[in-house]
Symmetry: C2
């Protein structure tokens, strides 16, 4: 007899699947980063004492590593602290307070809006909400945002200052921006002269298949279209080495980097160069990073596969129920028939399974159709993931039976 | 024949005395923080995996360490990244954008002002200047700011939202706030309901004499006066362990800490807990910190003494020339007769000696009397400091001779 929701509830499971955190085994992959920390010393290649103050834009070799990862010139990369979210927050806070190159401080305008392809990353939306920036939902396709919609909005409305983009293995839809979409984003006319692409390249190396997808170099595309200052690229090593103790990068045009330098020179004397040095010595180069990411894939891919298998077994053929099979990244999106996402999350919670709140992937936490669930399979063990996938499926089935 | 300015210039010296940086020997005092980094591991006392995301307000034992250092309750301490300047910047940026508890966003007011005891810390002033906050100079005495002036301003002008305070071994005057000054700052009526003391406790443990001075607990004083939310305390270990790789603290009322948590939750998922763990294991407790600071003193005090000796020898008895003998901190203030500070810095530069720009210790870089020089003796070697002090003295003498 197949397991029912009530059977599952009886298991008394206690599991948190709400956030995209690396599992302990993934963190172990970078064990040498800790073990060798005592022998890394403090002197950079160029003789910089990494213990002392200074080097506002990051240790030179850390910037070089970022440049190699992001395929941009070294002078256009900033190596920062442990969080790219901080860089994104500060970029928007600086925009509000001081403006970005080519524009006035955003706070001087009554109405500021940002385009938000949905479903998207809840922390992007939280920054906008905190800053009082109006968010406009944009339909998302497998190859990126609906560009006809984006172009018409951006061309006609000067209050629209930016668009959030996770170009590769988009959070949480898994979308991969096509070259055509990147070119159109780079080239489209914007009513706001200081329009920006907020390019969160969070999953650039987080492949889940043999095909290592990539997206068009957005700085090049913008420069080619005569919009050199349009893109601000954000990336981090948080899901490469340590979630809480890695290094983040900002990449942009020279003019944007100068602007950034001016703004952060007031805020800090420099980032933690010792941690940057440890990362440079540990990862070495792009090949080193890619080898490490293969090891991540070996741990993460079975978890994604387990979810897919459980959903196929328990949700296959149910009308209006779909899910994606991402080729990379950290999330699976499960779509219920309209009106069933919240109830599914509630039923899962009653069975001891904490999921990301329904609607979290939408601005203001409001999924207009109440049908999207974000599944984060990385942190629990493979056995737990199998069980959790079953629990999610049974919770959804139960929700559908309640009508 | 005593050395002249021209003789000194012939030496072809190249020395940067412009910033208050720890010397390499001081950084060596915390060598174990690096050497033992490989054995510290990643598990906190409570089993927290410091490698992963989370713990927005800092690792519990890092907050406890901060609480012991600052003598405030643990729940009222935030342990952050490598820079207290960042915390100060963000506190003011958040105040502009969102307001502090008890008030509206500062940006909604046409005019925002902050009181600046002078001479003061140039980076405090740079934050205000960047944010468009008007700065009002406040005369500084040996026991803190001129409180009659402060009280009259704060009571009558609602645009005055805060005052910068470095309560112990004030940067750069060496002032030590008396208990009476702290009590008056805590108790004074303020026209602005959201008035704040920006309490930069940068030199709390940086004694240069046997007498370990301390200042009144400002959170207690504020609470006793019914102004529980008035003080925001900032501190860091940058001049205890590593200038660029230490840990910073914010301490305030529970209400202010809740506000901080709300604001930073949008900005980051948490600080680098691995570095916090390393610091906790290395410093252990307040006694550990104080032992380390004794070692700093042994290295730093002779440099301060060398400056004092050189000034006494070469500047003693010159009319209008004075300097202070700080009991702690990182700076010596040298006062020239009015109108001679800039010229002295220029002459020193011609002789290869880079000093902090004259006027730097004043808002907008403008010393109204052009008479203050900030001397930072810590970074160069003792021999270099001796030579530099001679160079400064000879440059000032030459400037005075040029009339």
């Amino acid at each position: 007899m197949p397991m029912t929701y009530n059977d599952f509830k009886q298991l008394g499971m206690r599991l948190d699947m709400s956030r995209g955190k690396p599992a302990p085994e993934q963190l172990e992959l970078s064990r040498a980063l800790l073990d060798e920390a005592g022998t890394t010393g403090f002197l950079s290649r160029d003789g910089i004492d990494c213990r002392n103050y200074g080097h506002l834009l990051g240790l030179p070799e850390a910037r070089e590593l970022g440049a190699a990862f992001l395929e941009v010139p070294v002078a256009q990369v900033v190596a920062g602290g442990n969080s790219s979210l901080e860089l994104m927050h500060d970029a928007l806070a600086f925009a509000m307070l001081f403006g970005v190159p080519g524009g006035e401080p955003w706070r001087k305008q009554d109405d500021i809006a940002v385009l938000c392809p949905v479903p998207g990353y809840d922390r992007h939306f939280a920054i906008c909400e905190a800053l009082g920036i109006r968010m406009i939902n944009v339909p998302m396709n497998d190859d990126g945002p609906d560009m006809d919609f984006v172009e018409s909005q951006v061309a006609s409305d000067a209050s629209i200052k930016a668009i959030w983009c996770v170009p590769l293995y988009s959070n949480p839809s898994g979308a991969i921006y096509s070259a055509e979409v990147v070119r159109r984003l780079a080239a489209m006319p914007a009513a706001a002269p200081d329009f920006r692409l907020l390019w969160d390249d969070a999953y650039r190396f987080h492949h889940l298949t043999d095909q290592k997808h990539s997206t068009l170099n957005v700085l090049d595309a913008c420069a080619a279209a005569g919009h050199e200052d349009r893109a601000l690229i954000f990336a981090s090593l948080s899901k490469v080495t340590f979630g809480g103790g890695a290094m983040a990068f900002l990449a942009a045009s020279k003019r944007n980097v100068d602007w950034w330098q001016q703004r952060v020179s007031v805020r800090t004397i420099g980032p933690d160069k010792l941690n940057q040095l440890r990362h440079v010595r540990f990862l070495r180069d792009r090949a080193g990073l890619e080898r490490l990411m293969e090891c991540h894939r070996a741990l993460v891919e079975p978890k994604f596969a387990a979810i897919a298998a459980a959903f196929a077994e328990h949700l296959g053929g149910l009308e209006g129920v779909t899910w994606n099979a991402p080729a990379g990244g950290y999330f699976i999106s499960l779509y219920t028939p309209p009106g069933f996402a919240k109830r599914t999350v509630a039923l899962a919670a009653e069975a001891g399974l904490v999921l990301t709140p329904a609607g979290a992937a939408y601005p203001y936490g409001r999924d207009p159709d109440d049908r999207h669930l974000r599944i984060a399979p990385t942190f629990p063990t493979l056995d737990e993931v199998r069980l959790a996938a079953l629990g999610i499926a049974l919770s959804l089935r139960r929700a559908l039976e309640e009508i």
